[in-house]
Amino acid sequence: MMRIRTGGVAALTILALGVSLTACSAGSSEGTDSGDPPTGLTLTLWHPAFDSPELLDLYHAWEEESGNKLDIFDVPPPELMNVIQTKWAAGEKPDILGWLGDPAPMLALNPLQNLQDLSDMTFVKTADAVALNGGTFDDKVYSAQLGPLAVTGVYYNKKVFADAGLEAPQSYDDLASICSTLLGSTPGVTPIYEAGTTGAVMNLASSNYIAESNVDSAFSDAIADGSEKINDPDGPIVKGFEAYAGLRDQGCFNDDATTGTEEAQAKGLMDGSVAMFASDTNAVSRLDALADAATVDATVGFVAVSATSPVANSHGNPSGTLYLPKTGDSAKEAAARDFINFVTGPAYQDYLDAAKIIPTFSGVTTPELQGLMQDIDKASTDGTATYWVGLPGFGGGLSGEVQKLLAGQSTPQQAADSVQTLYEQAKAAIGE
């Protein structure tokens, strides 16, 4: 089930797999999957409080199955990074950790030292390439991603587009021209709604723009090996920021873009006061919260939009991405591995059927998806991996800089300079 063309990334992953399998056959010092899993234990699980009820049902199903108990700590989403990083730094660790699904935040957990190597586990053999790559560092797999991946593109209101005689956008030029048409013809409609209080501003300002430049991870690799710099005046990051600032200056965004929220965004798109917004797969659940799936499908469409061509990008999802910290308690570590085997194995199909999401493992039946989800699935087929996946220092840093750009506190070049500094800071921290 190679859903997303990632070329080099996939090759890298396969290479990583080969290496890790060799390591396994050579005899891993970590716990293995064989033997009876322990029972009667209580494991701590930290996870983002926004995990779906279906996902929690899956976790609870394991309690019944294994005879172990989970002590679940809901981390409030706005504090996710802070709470987990802070507790982690102080040496407090859970047995199972729900955390962001990309290598960059994973690096911030110092995986070699702190995380169990999962490379020899069964789920690795059937995992989707992007999902697997998101959890891989230094040829070792550290996370299991239950999905769906966060596929990023543009959501639009079909009726607003039809009424104005517009086609769905494919490029940033399209976004600008659709915007000026709408500003002229239907002044009551906000062309693009930006949720400036969230990290989602990265999508339109950067991730989407660069998606087409990152075929086979070309751009990520160029940044990583230093052949391109983040703040090159003609580089795609600065160009993306400029395009973004251009849309802002054109008046395409909502008046309250800097204080915009994702719920208002979803609401506006459903009632037709908003024409478009850029977001990832998780927006579907926000839309579904406002109307039944059929209405959402009839109202909203999803398209891939990049600088000049329709290319989507995807990365790991903070929901359902699981890591196993090394706790030093071998019984609990073994039970935690049993937990991963269960949620990625026998129980996974039930979870898919209940949650109706795109799977991240092969060998399962994709449930009947709602139309919008099918659009996303389709768009992702020709997509690339989000460029900042694997580049350290991009998490809170990039979104913070884009928020300043959105608020007019920095120029595109200044924003890119700051991101460059953050990247170098993080790289130095890793010791690269």
Partner: protein, 283 residues
């Protein structure tokens, strides 16, 4: 001026003053409270408009039921009470004991520790080392560890307030008690503590508010649903699965978190305000 007597003038002045204060109180207190209440009665969709209008569709029962059931309200309430009451009592006792000692001693060591205690009020907490220490003594994530840290970080306020107050007290009473043969503890309990009542009352009000509403320490020092205090249970519950803010539930949560304190305030309001306004904050 010739037609109105000074009495009438002052009555007119008084009336104008209260009209003005009344007008001022509307946006300052009434509107925020009204918005809080009325939106906590609305459905999620309607509350997102954030208007002051009455709900067209009442969802009060649903919202508040959710606060009680999904919001784990009673667990949070129980924990908050079990934590706040002992912490406030212990802080008042330890703080007033220390304040008496500081006020009556000139020893270098105590001057230094008094200064450190005063600094503890105004410097931000160092969370990571705190967690590290709690982990070392096996109390991280527990109610005991949290109470210990709250006590330690709040005791400085009482010391700071009470030392200034005790210094203004004559030493005659305590000297008399000593001459009567009372031990230090007896003198503290029967003489000093009653004398300190006004300032301790002021301190207690500030403590209760601070401890009850504490969010930062609770977020980092308490682990697991079973230990969560009200600010924690309600904060994590009020956020929708998508991470967005559900205003109706946020407001219902805010109402329910504030209500215990509010009830206490309504009951004790006279005492609180007279205590504060006559108390020794300026001492």
């Amino acid at each position: 001026m010739s037609t109105t007597s000074p009495m009438q003038a002052s009555r007119l002045q008084q009336t104008l003053k209260y009209i003005f204060l009344g007008i001022f109180a509307v946006p300052w207190v009434a509107v925020p409270l009204w918005m809080l209440l009325v939106n906590s009665f609305k459905t999620e969709g309607e509350s997102s408009v954030l208007s002051l209008a009455l709900p067209t569709e009442w969802a009060a029962v649903e919202n508040y039921t959710k606060v009680f059931t999904e919001g784990n309200y009673f667990v949070g309430l129980g924990n908050s009470l079990l934590i706040a009451i002992p912490v406030v009592v212990v802080v008042l006792i330890l703080g007033s004991m220390a304040a008496w000692a500081y006020a009556r001693s000139n020893a270098m060591g105590l001057r230094v520790t008094f200064f450190i205690s005063a600094m503890s009020i105004m410097l931000p907490p160092a969370i990571i080392p705190t967690i590290f220490i709690l982990t070392k003594i096996g109390l991280q994530g527990t109610t005991w560890g949290y109470m210990l840290v709250l006590t330690a970080t709040k005791v400085g306020v009482i010391i700071f307030l009470a030392v200034g107050f005790v210094r203004t007290l004559p030493t005659d009473y305590e000297e008399a008690a000593q001459l009567d043969g009372a031990g230090r503890l007896r003198t503290y309990w029967h003489v000093i503590l009653p004398l300190m009542r006004p300032v301790l009352f002021t301190g207690a009000v500030m403590l209760v508010i601070g401890v009850w509403n504490d969010f930062l320490f609770a977020l980092f020092l308490l682990a697991g649903k079973a230990n969560a205090t009200l600010p924690l249970t309600l904060y994590s519950f009020a956020l929708a699965p998508t991470g967005a803010v559900r205003w109706n539930l946020v407001f219902a949560s805010v109402v329910m978190t504030s209500i215990p304190l509010f009830i206490a305030y309504v009951v004790l309001q006279r005492r609180v305000l007279s205590g504060l306004t006559e108390g020794g904050t300026t001492g």
